[in-house]
Symmetry: C2
Subunit: 338 residues, 2 copies
């Protein structure tokens, strides 16, 4: 168990009385190796406790068996249950296919156009899954132009060589608004979040459209944009309830924002859903636990991750002739808040 000189493929070959190539073939299961030779090699490998050097293998074979996943370079990014869920899906699929995951921090708001493709050219990973990217990020374009294998998770982007897995935001918002209307609500507010995100944009557009279909007006005082998280939503939503006429329902572009809004409403002494109904989007873990339990549009977050990973594997195996563009369905989960 002491420190030993590193055993290499050459050592195994020498012991076995064969060439390194034969050992390599045995190791990778490609190419023929005589059964007797194989057995001999196997025994020696075990005796010497040989481990292939993965760096050397990758350098030589030009495949690293690693999938890169971008995560926002903010503290606590992984505390976001939404990110954790996507990552969970990606990880499950990757690991089942002998790929490892490498976490790549990035700033969703800035970065040189070639940042991602440069990473790729450093050979740190074979393909990339992009999380939390913004609308029209030039880094995405650069990847596509260079035909680098990548998949967008929860981001919609119709362009050549861009593959994505996203959800049907339009449907989600329509379900939410129609449900509220059914329940007799008409003064509907919307917390849109950051419109540089494709989801936020889609949801916001869908909201306007659906409101129009329902012959309801979108009151500008009741619409909020910005980089919202729970805390900011709490802070900013104060103004929704300051005016004389207050909304009788609030649709939020994600659950964390809904949490903030709910806290605000409670603090104003208003009842949920009697005075104000609230609907979120995502169905994160807490949604079912808070009081009142959150009515929300559930998207299959983990499945997005799984499909993104599966799609990437297809790309890596050259099995994707068509662009992959999937919009998964969503459903309205009716709980107590609306």
């Amino acid at each position: 168990m002491k420190k030993q000189r590193k055993i290499t493929i050459a050592d195994i070959a020498r012991e076995a009385g064969v060439s390194a190539m034969t050992v390599s073939r045995y190791l990778n299961g490609k190419g023929p190796v005589a059964a007797s030779t194989a057995e001999r090699i196997k025994a020696i490998i075990e005796r010497l406790q040989y481990n292939p050097n993965w760096l050397a293998r990758s350098l030589s074979s030009k495949k690293s068996m690693i999938i890169g996943v971008t995560i926002p370079r903010i503290e606590h990014a992984l505390l976001d249950n939404y990110i954790a869920q996507i990552l969970s899906g990606v990880t499950d699929v990757a690991l089942q296919n002998d790929y490892r995951i490498m976490l790549l921090p990035f700033n969703p708001e800035h970065g040189t156009d070639n940042e991602f493709s440069n990473w790729y050219h450093s050979k740190m990973f074979d393909g990339l899954i992009l999380l939390k990217t913004m609308h029209r990020d030039p880094r995405i374009k650069s990847l596509a132009e260079q035909k680098i294998p990548f998949v967008l998770a929860n981001h919609k982007y119709y362009a050549p060589d861009v593959h994505f897995i996203d959800v049907n935001n339009k449907l989600g918002i329509r379900l939410a608004v129609e449900y509220l209307v059914e329940k007799g609500r008409s003064r509907i507010a919307f917390v849109a979040g950051d419109l540089r995100e494709t989801n936020a944009r889609d949801r916001w557009n869908a909201f306007c459209k659906t409101m129009q279909e329902q012959n309801l007006t979108v009151n500008k005082e009741w619409v909020m944009h910005g980089q919202f998280n729970q805390e900011i939503a709490y802070r900013e939503s104060e103004k929704l309830f300051r005016a004389k006429t207050i909304p009788d329902a609030v649709v939020c572009s994600d659950d964390y924002m809904a949490l903030g809004v709910i806290r605000r409403i409670k603090e104003r002494g208003l009842r949920i859903p009697d005075d104000v109904a609230v609907i979120g989007f995502d169905d994160i873990e807490i949604a079912a636990y808070i009081q009142p339990a959150l009515t929300t549009v559930r998207q299959p977050i983990e499945k997005i991750g799984r499909l993104a990973a599966e799609s990437l594997l297809k790309l890596l195996n050259g099995k994707a002739d068509q662009p992959i563009r999937r919009l998964l369905s969503v459903q309205l989960i009716k709980r107590e808040s609306a």
Copy 2:
């Protein structure tokens, strides 16, 4: 922007009229390079969009600048808010220090003794952070014997060359039990979880000890062991409330179990905390949101991750002369459930 032949350090060298070594020195900032030469190289690198091949560099320099983090090979591992929090801490520190994170799936219950050290010898990472390992896992011993740099996160293990960051479980349980006693509870049940985990063991031992100090008896009917998660805790805790005398308080070894127990208690039509008080351990995200809000022992989970990563970096830089053995403090967060 079209596909181009890969630019290498040799190309840069040729253009600049120097040797590859000079470019390498420039790139790594070690060794002297004339200012004028440096400038020339810099310009060429930019013009040619050169990216160093990280595999080749790692192979040659024997450093990969990657930290491996083990995660349990179960589906949805990352959905466990506790794991996500540790990972979050690790990631933040690693990324700030230009290390990447590689996720390494493992089975906490089985594996050959050399599994982890074999990974290390494959050169996939420079050091390892171990999450969710069990008591006396031989794989840990093997790492230590081979002097491989690694740190245990949330695991206590006194042995040479084993470094760990853990919390003061004994204190946590004592705070919980004493608080219950203060509130007049005496029929205290304990949901221990899996005793192969060091935390579960510590907590269980601490529970017995504190009960004794308080002159309370540990009723065997009210103690539950096993691989509990929320669902199983819900299922199994049924038997706690079947008997004639039921406990008036339940201490749980983690919050997810507490969630299951709470669901059970509610379903039995018992009131929390009036009929039965519940205390958890961890203070995961949901704890504050559930109804009733969970009284629990908060441990600084993310900080454990941060410290584990910082410690590993010290090991990698040879700056750890002493074994690193930290027990972080915990606090009782009093909410509604007890």
